[in-house]
């Protein structure tokens, strides 16, 4: 079987790893090869995480700058490309301030703990064809379980700081992250139902074919599921308009008010890595993951992920923040029922023929959307009239 150049481009990382392992295999025992394979994958992830975070901050600042009609960072290096490194140096050299009454151990632990789940989630993200670090058959379950640990370090940090703003921020985080976990998990279910697997790789493979038209997003339940998942993902990684835990205008900096220097940078890093993995999972679940015509698979994956991240940044550049009760209401009264109905729609989809399925599921989703809007009048703006008098 003759393969084109795109196959080799596609497999460039996999082949490289295989080649190195093969080289090592000549003079190392088998168990060392397994170890070496593990080390290589984890080193790649450990390097990828911080680099992604650094350049995400730059990307965010650039994009928001452009949205606001300014350049964004452009002084350090060409197009400001060295800005993240300068920021890193600044963060490293800053004084590490610990409040006098803080619980010092927990205060120190929190930023360390928060990075761990953020990095662990990378394990199940399929970066490309055969490029999942660990192809767990319960990959999604692993992802959901690990990403929900994030609440703990945030709350640790907020509690240990002994600051009232931090405490409020921590309380908000606990409430917000727990609430948004539920619709997010439910929004994952349709994809699992359709692909009949929890493994991220299998989910991607089940979206093969038709030049990308088989992606789950091109179905009614797929759109609904994707929107719900993406909104929840935005809330999960504390991005605007759901950035209540660190609401600058209200709580100064929320849970990391009392953090400075590298500890603060770790919080920051975790936030951006979470944003990346959540967008990656969203792309995997509904946008066909690394599937796509012509280009190498990993390029497709990163392209889709960065597109989603750009949308998150776009949100940040446009939208004001929700209020606590509205945020909760949005999760429990809007996203949760929508996700449940979406599961129903997916179930029906599997049992009906194609045309009626389209019509029926669109109808059900539209009606339920309308019904939910009607039930949640607090989300709907009042119409007002403003008389002009002399």
């Amino acid at each position: 079987m003759i393969r084109g150049i795109e196959f080799y481009l596609d497999m460039i990382f996999v082949t490289a790893k295989g080649w190195i392992l093969g080289l090592l295999g000549r003079f190392l025992p088998d168990w060392m090869i397994v170890l070496a394979s593990i080390v290589m994958s984890s080193v790649a992830i450990l390097a990828l995480g911080p680099v992604i975070m650094m350049y995400l901050t730059l990307l965010e600042r650039k994009l928001i700058g452009r949205i606001q009609n300014r350049y964004g960072p452009n002084r350090v290096g060409k197009w400001g490309l060295l800005q993240p490194i300068a920021d890193g140096i600044k963060m490293f050299t800053k004084e590490d301030i610990v409040p006098a009454n803080a619980d010092k151990i927990v205060h120190l632990l929190a930023p360390i703990v928060i990075v761990v789940p953020a990095l662990m989630v990378f394990l199940v993200v399929p970066f490309g064809e055969r490029m999942t670090a660990v192809d767990l058959n319960i990959g999604l379950l692993f992802f959901i379980a690990i990403s929900s640990i994030t609440i703990l370090p945030i709350f640790m940090g907020s509690w240990a700081s002994r600051n009232k703003y931090s405490l409020l921020g921590g309380m908000r985080t606990a409430a917000q992250l727990i609430s948004y976990e539920i619709p997010m998990t439910l929004a994952v279910v349709p994809a699992i139902m359709m692909s009949q697997s929890l493994s991220t790789n299998t989910i991607v493979l089940s979206q093969t074919g038709d030049y990308g038209l088989r992606w789950f997003i091109f179905t009614p339940w797929g759109i609904a599921g994707f929107v719900v998942f993406f909104l929840c993902a935005t809330a999960e990684c504390n991005r605007p308009p759901f950035d209540l835990p660190e609401a600058e205008s209200e709580l100064v900096a929320g849970f990391h008010t009392e953090y400075s220097g590298m500890k603060f940078a770790l919080f920051y890093m975790a936030e951006y890595m979470n944003a990346f993995t959540l967008c990656g999972i969203a792309a995997t679940l509904y946008l066909g993951g690394w599937q796509g015509p012509f280009l190498p698979s990993w390029l497709w994956f990163f392209g889709k992920t960065f597109l989603l991240i750009c949308v998150m940044i776009w949100f940040r550049g446009t939208l004001p923040r929700f209020r606590v009760d509205q945020l909760m209401g949005f999760a429990w009264k809007f996203l949760l029922p929508l996700a449940l109905i979406n599961i129903l729609v997916t179930a029906l989809w599997q049992f009906t023929s194609h045309f009626t399925a389209w019509l029926g599921s669109l109808l059900i989703l539209a009606v339920s959307f309308w019904g939910l809007v009607q039930l949640n009048r607090t989300f709907v703006p009042e119409k007002r009239r403003y008389p002009l008098e002399s």
């Binding site: 949205i67 009609n69 300014r70 350049y71 776009w314 949100f315 446009t318 939208l319 709907v380 703006p381």
Partner: protein
């Protein structure tokens, strides 16, 4: 089903601005910031920053006669003047000390307005940062003196009007030749002193 349309519209607005920042020029919705040290805004003639003293020709020929009006009228009292005495212990109509504390000055332009000798004007130079605000921001006479050409350069319209006024006043002074002695030296505006 208009729910969500407001948010979408807003996002379209921001996207338009995002695109415009690449496509449009500064005045047409493009990037409106100025990259400061390399680019500069065009100088605006009436801009007033800190005061400076004008001399004609050489720095010794300051127009200032140390009358002290600006010192008295300055609202935050940032000007300090001492009249120079000549050998006969008479006022020499020249400042021996003329200090302006830029740390106190609030750029109101009142000294410029009240000066009857067209001597003190507001500068355009705003890059006056120093390391020590206590000592370095107090500018002495030497640092404050600028030539008339400099004044002409930064505020062409205003300076030429001032020059014309001064020329006219000088010619007027020359016309009555019978007026001799110390009185002829008296600048015309000095009679308006309180």
């Amino acid at each position: 089903m208009t729910f969500g349309m407001g948010v979408l519209k807003g996002m379209i607005v921001t996207f338009k601005n995002f695109a415009a920042s690449y496509l449009c020029k500064r005045d047409e919705g493009g990037i409106f910031t100025v990259q400061y040290p390399e680019e500069r805004e065009k100088a605006i003639e009436n801009f007033r920053n800190f005061p400076f003293l004008v001399y004609d020709g050489t720095p010794e020929k300051l127009r200032c006669v140390a009358c002290g009006i600006c010192e008295r009228e300055c609202p935050p009292k940032c000007i300090y003047i001492v009249m120079e005495m000549d050998n006969a212990r008479k006022p020499a109509r020249k400042p021996a000390v003329f200090d302006v504390d830029y740390g106190l000055c609030m750029n109101c332009g009142i000294c410029e307005e009240v000066c009857p000798f067209d001597s003190i004007f507001m500068d355009h130079d705003f890059e006056v940062t120093t390391l020590d605000s206590r000592t370095d921001l107090v500018r002495h006479k030497e640092a404050l003196s600028r030539s008339n050409e400099y004044f002409q350069k930064i505020r062409p319209l205003f300076a030429s009007a001032i020059d014309q006024k001064r020329k006219a006043a000088e010619e007027k002074k020359k016309t009555p030749p019978q007026n001799t002695g110390g009185q002829a030296l008296q600048p015309p505006a000095a009679q308006g002193l309180p």
